[in-house]
Each structure stands twice: as structure tokens, then as C-alpha cells.
């Protein structure tokens, strides 16, 4: 029997509703993609940027702060009639530009908050809040600020991450800021902190409606850790002041710890110029400056050391026994070394012992010393002697990175036997390389390495790796390598005559650095006048003070500053005086240094092009 039509209809009804239930079963229980889509619709991940860690100087004074700034935002739909002129005068923006920005925001979205102006100072925000423009609000952010405006190259700057940095570390997302140079780069992991995320729910118009799951999945941003660096802000500022207008560098180290007290490179830049809205204008200008303000000469330049290297040769001679402090050599003055290789000298008493040879910086004397080191019969040949010499030189930290805690250190260059074998096709002798005796020739050292030499002499034979960070908040100590003394191959006892020579250079007649003398400070120093292919001689000075139990070792290098005593020594002397006594009692010397005119045709030729 065929079923009645009412039964067929009932089956039909039940079937269609069953189809609906099966479909619901599939949508709601089998297919999971809709849950994901619903989350994509409604959840907005709002990144919470942590304030970046601050940087203090060794005395606890801010040298880098996180400044609060405010972005002006606008929600077009909430904007009521307002006095555009008043708003413009508060934020300091031309009225046409403001109108255009507001129109653009309105076109983009009627309901979403959009940035109208970036990085307004707190004063402007307060004024805006007082007036209360409906539909406008401000959003907090932090920016770097530099109360002292010093140490641009040492501190470095931060900027938006680039493609390469994004690829390297998945922590960063487009638009994040990252340390680009200096301490900001070297200590990025510590300073940046950890981003947090707040998960908000938005409606169909993108308007935030509240936090997701009452904030259960939110993470709090962890602020960056503050760093105390070894820099003495006063000293650093004074060093930059004295170097202003010159091209060169100052590196000051506390010998007993290896802490860098000042690391100045000139020309430098105001670090505030690399922050905020002005960066786009300032960066190209600074970057194209032919004197290269972004080039940190204190660690990146490699120069011939000049006469300061006589210290090293003298110490090697003493240790090797080929030199005794009382040995005297004749100096023919301008006639130069007997070999006729044309190492000239300047007028001074002759003959001299080693101590006075250091005082007068006699070239001839140290030619004999190097010759004796290389031709030592013990090693059976100049080349073998040279190998020994090279090992000694390297033990002073030359020719390699010192493994400091900041980036951009350079190796410098210490020639080896192979260097000359190649250059002279294997045929060379002590005379060929004799300019090494006075720190010329193939040698290349960085100002940092020279300052390290000063610290080594001050310590009578050992040094601590120079470093810029003294303390990281929340940690008991910095890396262990900075607490470990590094000994040179020269025994401590041989340093005393050298120190005496350096003391005499400052304090005795005919001393090359008498200009550096400060009564009562017992400054010891060695001048250098480095010949170079770019123009006038570089002026360099290496010193420490006081003589016993030294507190500061310093290396000053002034490009084309001529004699070491002319420009480098007065700068070092003033800095030592400032550091040890807290004040400078020689205003005329300060004036002398500041008014010093040095021409830099090598750089400035490029500028005029």
C-alpha cells in the first residue's frame, strides 16, 4: 500500500529539518575554520612597547633618558565643531597642513582612531587636555633623550628595524625600534626589554570594545633594563668640548679596572638629532658630512702610533736584556741614524740614557734599541728576532681586538715577518724596518689600543680589558673577562725606568710635554708626532696620572695636530686635571686649545666637491 500523502509530507518535513541539523553538525562540530575566522574578525593584538632601558654615567647621572611623547589621534565620527586655529596654534602646525591631515583621516576611516601628529611634547598634551577637543586624544610613547647631549658615537642611536634585522630575529616586527650603533646596539637585548601584547576585541567598524577573556592571554611589557656605564659624563663632555673643531679622539681609562672614563670622537653629533621627527632631516646631513661624524674614531680609526711606540720598544729591549736604562747612544740630530735611512731627530742634548731619551723622544736612540732587539745573536737572525719582537708587541694588545664590550673595535696592524718577506721579496734587515722603532712604518693602532698601552704602563705591566658598562641593573657583576688582568711579556720591574722617563717628559727641562705639567698631579706622558700621507703630522699624547697609584690613563689623538706637545698634550693635561681635581685652573690653556686652528684639507676637499 502506498503511504498516505500526509505521511509523505511528515517525512518530507522531518527530512528537511534533519538536513539542517546535519549541516549545523558539520559547521559547528566538524569544520574548525569558522572559529579561527571569528577570532580573526574580532581580536586585535595590540603590542605594548616597553620603555627602553636608561643609561647612567659612572656617578649615577642620566646620560640617556626615555622621554615621554604623545601622538595626537583623532576619531572622525566623534569630532565636533572646534576652533581649528586654536588647535593649530597649540600644536604648532600650519592650518592648511592640519586641515589636509584631518581630511585624509576622514577619508580613511570614519570610526577608527588615526594618528594626526606624532611625538608631541608633554606640554602640548597638557594644553590639549585643558582645552578638550572632542574626538581628539593622545597616545603615550617613549623616545630617547639625552640630557647632556654627549657621547653620540659611544651611545649610538636607535631606529626602525630594517629587512635584514627583521630576518635575523623574529622578535622584531615591522615598525619596531632597534639599536643601530654604539651601546644601543651592543646592549640591545638588555635595553629593549620585552614587548607585551594586549588582546582587544573590536566590532565590525574596528572600534575597540574591551579586552579579550578579561585579559587572561595578555602579556605585560617588561621594561628595558637600565645600564650604568663607566663614562664620567663631566669628563666626556669636557673632552668633546676640547676636541670641538678638530678631528681626533680621546680615550681615558681607569687603569686599575679597565673602565673607560671617556671615549670621545670628533667631530661628533648631538644624539638628540637622531631622535624623533628631525631624524629624516638630520641623518642625511650627518651621513654625508665629509668629516664623518658617525665614524667613531676612538675605536675605529687606525693610525701610526708615532713616538709613543718608543715606550713599547724600550720595554722590549729592557726585558730582552739588550738595553739597560743607563745605556747611552749618540744622536746626530738632523743627520739621523747612521744607516742613512733618513730617520731624523730634533735638537737635544746628546748622548742620552734611556730615561732621557724618552723625555726628549730621541729617534736615534730607539733605532739602536730596535736594531739590538732584532739582531740579538740569541735568535740567530733578524727575521727570528723580528718574530720575538712581534710576539712582545702583540702581548700589549696591539694587532688584535681587545674583546671589549662595544662593537666596531678594529684590529689595527702589527707587521709580521711575512709582511716584509712579501714586500721586499724576502730580502730585508733591521734597517729596512727601522721606522718601526719610532712607531712609523707598517704599524697601525687604534686610539683605544693606545689608551690601553697607557693603562698598561700605569699598571706597570698589566691591563684590564677596557669596557664601557659598569653595571647592569639586576645583575651582580659584568662579564668575568673584565676582572681578569692581562700581563704583557715584559716584567713589572722594567716599567719603572720607563715611567721615570715619562715623568721627566712632563716635568724636566727638554721634556717634550712640559705643557702638560700640572703642579701636584705628577702626570707622566709621552708625546707622539705621527707622519702620515694625508697632510700635516698627527699629534698624539699618551699619559697617566698620578705617577704612583694612577687613577687615569689617557690617549689623545689629534689628526694633523702636528707635534704631540702642540695639541694632544694640552688636551690630555686639561682632562687629567679636570678628572683628578674636579676643576680646571688654567683657563688660558683651555682658551688656547679651543682657539686652535687646524686645517683639514684632506676632508674638506671632499666637501667642496
Amino acid at each position: 500500500m502506498r503511504p498516505s500523502r500526509s505521511v509523505i509530507l511528515q517525512i518530507f518535513v522531518i527530512t528537511l529539518f534533519a538536513v539542517i541539523i546535519v549541516r549545523l553538525f558539520y559547521l559547528q562540530l566538524i569544520d574548525n575554520s569558522y572559529k579561527q575566522n571569528a577570532n580573526n574578525n574580532v581580536l586585535r593584538y595590540e603590542v605594548q612597547n616597553p620603555p627602553r632601558g636608561e643609561i647612567f654615567d659612572r656617578n649615577g647621572e642620566y646620560i640617556v633618558q626615555s622621554k615621554e611623547v604623545y601622538d595626537l589621534m583623532m576619531v572622525p565620527k566623534d569630532v565636533k565643531q572646534f576652533d581649528t586655529l586654536l588647535l593649530c596654534s597649540i600644536v604648532g602646525e600650519p592650518i592648511e597642513g592640519m586641515r589636509e591631515k584631518i581630511q585624509k583621516a576622514k577619508r580613511y576611516s570614519w570610526r577608527q582612531g588615526q594618528v594626526i601628529l606624532e611625538q608631541l611634547p608633554k606640554e602640548v598634551k597638557i594644553k590639549l587636555d585643558e582645552r578638550g577637543f572632542p574626538g581628539f586624544y593622545t597616545v603615550f610613547r617613549t623616545l630617547r633623550s639625552y640630557p647632556r647631549k654627549i657621547a653620540g658615537n659611544l651611545l649610538g642611536y636607535i631606529g626602525k628595524v630594517n629587512e635584514r634585522e627583521l630576518e635575523r630575529d623574529p622578535y622584531y616586527k615591522g615598525g619596531d625600534y632597534i639599536g643601530k650603533t654604539g651601546i644601543e646596539l651592543a646592549f640591545e637585548d638588555i635595553l629593549r626589554g620585552e614587548k607585551g601584547v594586549r588582546i582587544n576585541m573590536v566590532d565590525v567598524h574596528g572600534v575597540v570594545k574591551g579586552s579579550y577573556a578579561e585579559g587572561m592571554y595578555d602579556t605585560v611589557a617588561r621594561p628595558g633594563t637600565a645600564i650604568t656605564c663607566t663614562i664620567d659624563a663631566e669628563l666626556q663632555e669636557f673632552a668633546e668640548e676640547l676636541l670641538a673643531g678638530k678631528v681626533g679622539s680621546v680615550v681615558a681609562i681607569e687603569p686599575s679596572t679597565g673602565e673607560i672614563l671617556a671615549l670621545a670622537s670628533s667631530p661628533t653629533y648631538d644624539p638628540d638629532e637622531m631622535v624623533g621627527r628631525e631624524v629624516n632631516k638630520n641623518f642625511p646631513r650627518l651621513n654625508s658630512d665629509p668629516r664623518k661624524p658617525f665614524f667613531n674614531r676612538a675605536v675605529m680609526s687606525v693610525y701610526p702610533p708615532g713616538s709613543v711606540f718608543k715606550i713599547v720598544n724600550g720595554l722590549i729591549g729592557l726585558q730582552e736584556g739588550v738595553l739597560k736604562p743607563e745605556y747611552k747612544y749618540y744622536c746626530a740630530g738632523k743627520a739621523g741614524y747612521t744607516g742613512g735611512r733618513g730617520v731624523a731627530c730634533h735638537g737635544h742634548t746628546s748622548p742620552l740614557n734611556m730615561i732621557d731619551a724618552i723625555k726628549c723622544s730621541c729617534n736615534a736612540y730607539f733605532c739602536y734599541v730596535l736594531k739590538d732587539i732584532l739582531e740579538n745573536r740569541k735568535y740567530g737572525g733578524v727575521k727570528n728576532g723580528f718574530d720575538v719582537w712581534e710576539k712582545y708587541v702583540r702581548s700589549f694588545g696591539f694587532g688584535r681586538k681587545l674583546d671589549s664590550d662595544f662593537i666596531d673595535e678594529r684590529n689595527g696592524f702589527v707587521p709580521s715577518r711575512e709582511t716584509y718577506d712579501q714586500k721586499y721579496r724576502g730580502s730585508w734587515n733591521a734597517f729596512t724596518v727601522i721606522s718601526l722603532s719610532i712607531g712609523q712604518g707598517e704599524l697601525g693602532v687604534s686610539p683605544l689600543q693606545m689608551a690601553n698601552l697607557a693603562a698598561t704602563v700605569a699598571n706597570r705591566g698589566h691591563y684590564y680589558i677596557p669596557h664601557v658598562v659598569k653595571k647592569i641593573d639586576g645583575r651582580d657583576s659584568i662579564d668575568a673577562r673584565f676582572y681578569e688582568p692581562h700581563y704583557t711579556m715584559v716584567e713589572s720591574k722594567y716599567f719603572e725606568p720607563m715611567v721615570e722617563g715619562m715623568w721627566r717628559a712632563v716635568h724636566r727641562p727638554e721634556g717634550t710635554a712640559r705643557i702638560a705639567q700640572v703642579p701636584g698631579l705628577d702626570i707622566c706622558g709621552k708625546t707622539g708626532t705621527a707622519q702620515n700621507p694625508h697632510g700635516a703630522d698627527h699629534s698624539t699624547f699618551l699619559s697617566f696620572a698620578p705617577r704612583d697609584n694612577p687613577k687615569i690613563a689617557i690617549s689623545v689623538y689629534v689628526e694633523h695636530g702636528r707635534f704631540g706637545g702642540t695639541s694632544a698634550a694640552p688636551i690630555a693635561s686639561l682632562l687629567i686635571e679636570k678628572y683628578l681635581t674636579g676643576e680646571v685652573k688654567r683657563p688660558e690653556l683651555v682658551e688656547y686649545v679651543k682657539n686652535m686652528q687646524i686645517a683639514y684639507p684632506y676632508y674638506d676637499r671632499q666637501r667642496s666637491k
Partner: protein, 478 residues
């Protein structure tokens, strides 16, 4: 009269099960309207001016109307059927002239501050009039002469509604086929009806050749289901295929250019005499109906593309394409469809909880308190909640059918089945569109969708059925 009416409300004659189902749907519906329009902020207290407040007022009004409807004598409805129908038509025409346009449809009329949608009430008046007409003494559903006035009766309201540009509401009148099937209308009409719906969608998505093959094979299979003779049908189909291949390759070989579709079409039409011979020899009259179905199908199918591309409105075309095709931009024309599926699909087994649906609370779903109210159910109450609602609708419709079956008088039966059909079509199409089974057609979900007119109209449909049912049982008892 009034006295006996009084007793009706208290009497067990009223189908309290149906009323309970109805009340459950009303309560669940209102809760979901509340969730759909609810704004999560401290400022918004319960407000009578909001949609859920308005709906609550309408529910109150409806309950008063329901009591009155239950109190009235059943003969009153019988008597009122034609006048009500005429008034309904008149108001529909009035709307056409003086109505208010909402969302492109001129289907609203303002009475004071209240907007009413007369189209919703026309369903009720039409159902009453149809019941009255079909309960005439000596009415015969097999007589064409009797059917023509019936067709006119059912056809006038949807024609006016189409003129109001509210195609969705007009479509509802096809739900009378539900009742007509029960009343014994020739089954072929339903066969043609569903065949054409299927053909419509097939012609949009499939190649003409595929559609043609499906038409031929479907006709043969259904004919065989009725009449047997399977072996002959297989021979017929094989012969048709062979003839097509031979003809097609011969013409191509001779340098002609003919498509397989055209060849098959020619071969199948040429085979019709053989089919007629078969029908005559076995005295199978229904074969002629299959031939008619086949012929109308092959004419209808190619015209679908033309109709679809040129007559169907672009937004309607998009709504259809969204369901049957994958090549639709879910950000533009597919947005509603997609957001609706996301809302329901993300509900999971038990839902996100009352007022916790992110899709509905944050307005991602369009029209979520009216046409897409089922999204709120799906998202906040999950599979379990949705199943409860679907089951309640199913039970209500089955109950209405049962109420119709137990009437002796065709008036009550026809009316109950009409109501069941109307609810059925609304529920299936509305829920079907939110879950992507049916193209988006803007018709409300009974008792759920926000809107006073539709809520009141659906309730009137329902309570009159309950009243008629109660009256008949009273008669049976005494």
C-alpha cells in the same frame, strides 16, 4: 456564544502542547533579539525604546490579540474569510500607492508612529480565504474549473507583493503547495515544481550537455521506478548513446561541425516516437507526462542562463552564486553569507554563552536581529541550542499537521496545513540561508526575527489554527 467561548480558553480542548511549543519559541526568540541588539556598555540599561523593548511590547499586544482570537467563535473565521481577504488585497494595493520604502521594498505603511507590513497579514487572510474556498460543498481538487479560481485566489497577493519589489515575501505563497499536496492536487505539479527548481540551479553551475544527460537519465529512472521494464530502458539509453556517437562522428568526419550537446538533443527528440510506441503498447499513460516533463525541461534549461543573466537582479544573482559557486569574493558580495557562517560555525557544541558571541555582539553579522537572528542562536547557544530551536520548529509544524488531520471539516484542515506550510517554508529558508544551504532570501524566522508585523501575523496564523482545532474537538466530544 461568548459564554461557550469563555469555556474554550480553560477547556482541555485547546492544544496546550502546541501552545507550549509556541511559547518556548517566543521566549527563546526574544532572548536572542536581546542578545543581538544588546550593547555592552555601562550606559545602556534596559530600555523600552530599544528593539528588544519594542519586541516585548509587541509580544504583549500579541498575547491580548491571542486571547481575543481564542474567545471568538470558529464560525466567525469562516464567515470573515472572504471579507478579510478583500480587505487584505485592498491594503496591499494601498501600500503600493501610499507605502513607505524600506530597503528597496515598498512594503510598509505608517499608522501613527507604528510601521506595519501588510504583506505579513495577507498570508493569514489568503489562508483563510483558500480554506473557505476549498471547504465549499462539492469542491473537487481534480477539476480544472475549480482550480483556476483557487490559483487566482493564491496568486493575487504575491503578484502585488512582487510589484512592491519584495520578491522574498512573494515566494512564501509557494508554501500553499504543501497544503495542496495534502488535499490531493495532482502530484505532477509538484514534480514539475521541484524539477524546475533543481534545473534552475543545475543550469547555472553545469554545462548544458551535463544538464541534458541528467534530464534524460532522471526521466528514464523515475519512469522505470513507476512502471518497471528496466531492461528496455537500458537498451534505450545504450541505443541513444550509440546513435549520438555515430551521428556526431559521422558529421565531423564529413567535415561538418556539430556539438555533442546538439547531437544528443536531436537523437533524444527523434527517439520520442519510439517512446510513444512503448507507452501505447504497455498502456502506460504516465509516460506521456514524462515526455512532457522532458520537453519542458529541455526548453527551460537553456533559458535559465538568459533569465539569470538578464532578468534576475544583480544582488539576487550574487546571493544565488554565493551558495552554489566558489568563485565569490567573501569581502564583497559574499560578506553576509560568510559572516553568517562564521557566526554559526564558531559556536561549537555549546556556544559561546549568552551575550558572549563575538560575531553578534560586535555587529559582524548583518541584519542580525531580523533576517539573520538564527546566527545569534548558533553562535551563543551552539549546536545544542540550534538543535533545540530546529526541533521545536519541526515539532510545531508536525503538530499543526496533526491538528489539521483531526479536523472533520476541510476548512480547518486546509487552514492548518496552510499554516504548517507557511511556517515550514519560512523556517527552512531562513535557517537554510544562515547556514549556507539556500540563497539569501529576506524572509523572517517566525517568532524570532525582530518585527511587530511579522510576529503578530505569525501568532494570528497560529492561534486561529489552535482555535479551529479546539472547536472541532469540542464538537467531537459532545
Amino acid at each position: 456564544m461568548t459564554g461557550s467561548g469563555q469555556s474554550n480558553i480553560k477547556s482541555p480542548n485547546i492544544d496546550w502542547v502546541a501552545i507550549l511549543i509556541y511559547l518556548a519559541l517566543v521566549v527563546i526568540g526574544w532572548v536572542n533579539i536581546y542578545a543581538a541588539v544588546h550593547e555592552d556598555s555601562a550606559l545602556s540599561n534596559f530600555s523600552m525604546n530599544s528593539r528588544y523593548g519594542m519586541q516585548l511590547i509587541w509580544i504583549g499586544i500579541t498575547m491580548c490579540v491571542a486571547v481575543v482570537l481564542l474567545l471568538l467563535d470558529e464560525r466567525f473565521y469562516h464567515m470573515l474569510a472572504y471579507p478579510a481577504y478583500i480587505v487584505g488585497i485592498a491594503v496591499l494595493l494601498l501600500v503600493l500607492v501610499a507605502g513607505k520604502e524600506v530597503n528597496g521594498a515598498k512594503a510598509w505603511i505608517n499608522i501613527g508612529s507604528i510601521s506595519l507590513q501588510p504583506g505579513e497579514f495577507a498570508k493569514f487572510t489568503t489562508a483563510l480565504a483558500v480554506a473557505r474556498y476549498m471547504s465549499r460543498y462539492n469542491f473537487s481538487i481534480t477539476s480544472l474549473r475549480e482550480l483556476i479560481p483557487l490559483a487566482i485566489l493564491i496568486g493575487i497577493p504575491p503578484i502585488i507583493i512582487i510589484m512592491q519589489k519584495d520578491a522574498g515575501s512573494a515566494l512564501v505563497y509557494t508554501s500553499f503547495l504543501f497544503m495542496l499536496y495534502r488535499e490531493g492536487l495532482n502530484g505532477w505539479i509538484h514534480v514539475f515544481f521541484f524539477a524546475f527548481i533543481a534545473l534552475f540551479f543545475m543550469s547555472i553551475v553545469m554545462e548544458p550537455l551535463t544538464v541534458l544527460i541528467i534530464i534524460i537519465v532522471a526521466c528514464v529512472i523515475f519512469e522505470s521506478l513507476r512502471n518497471g521494464h528496466w531492461k528496455q530502458k537500458i537498451i534505450y539509453l545504450a541505443g541513444l548513446a550509440l546513435a549520438t556517437i555515430i551521428l556526431c562522428s559521422t558529421i565531423t568526419f564529413l567535415g561538418g561541425n556539430i556539438s555533442v550537446y546538439t547531437t544528443l538533443l536531436i537523437c533524444s527528440v527523434l527517439s520520442l516516437p519510439a517512446v510513444i510506441v512503448y507507452a501505447y503498447r504497455h498502456r502506460l499513460r504516465n509516460v506521456y507526462m514524462f515526455i512532457a516533463l522532458f520537453l519542458t525541461s529541455i526548453i527551460f534549461a537553456p533559458s535559465v542562463d538568459y533569465v539569470f543573466d538578464n532578468i534576475v537582479q544583480p544582488h539576487q544573482r550574487d546571493r544565488i552564486l554565493v551558495v552554489i559557486s566558489d568563485e565569490v569574493d567573501l569581502k564583497k558580495e559574499g560578506y553576509n553569507y560568510n559572516q553568517s557562517l562564521i557566526a554559526i560555525g564558531s559556536g561549537g557544541i555549546a556556544g559561546k554563552g549568552f551575550l558572549q558571541g563575538t560575531q553578534t555582539q560586535f555587529n559582524f553579522v548583518p541584519e542580525q536581529s531580523t533576517d539573520f537572528i538564527f546566527c545569534t542562536v548558533g553562535e551563543e547557544w551552539g549546536f545544542l541550542g540550534s538543535t533545540v530551536v530546529v526541533t521545536l520548529f519541526c515539532l510545531l509544524i508536525l503538530r499543526l499537521m496533526q491538528m489539521g488531520e483531526r479536523q472533520r471539516d476541510p476548512f480547518g484542515r486546509v487552514y492548518c496545513y496552510s499554516v504548517a506550510g507557511i511556517f515550514f517554508l519560512h523556517a527552512v529558508i531562513n535557517i537554510g540561508m544562515t547556514i549556507g544551504l539556500v540563497p539569501v532570501i529576506g524572509i523572517p524566522l517566525p517568532f524570532f526575527s525582530y518585527g511587530g508585523s511579522s510576529f503578530l501575523a505569525f501568532s494570528i496564523l497560529f492561534f486561529v489554527a489552535v482555535r479551529l482545532d479546539a472547536g472541532k474537538r469540542e464538537l467531537l466530544r459532545t
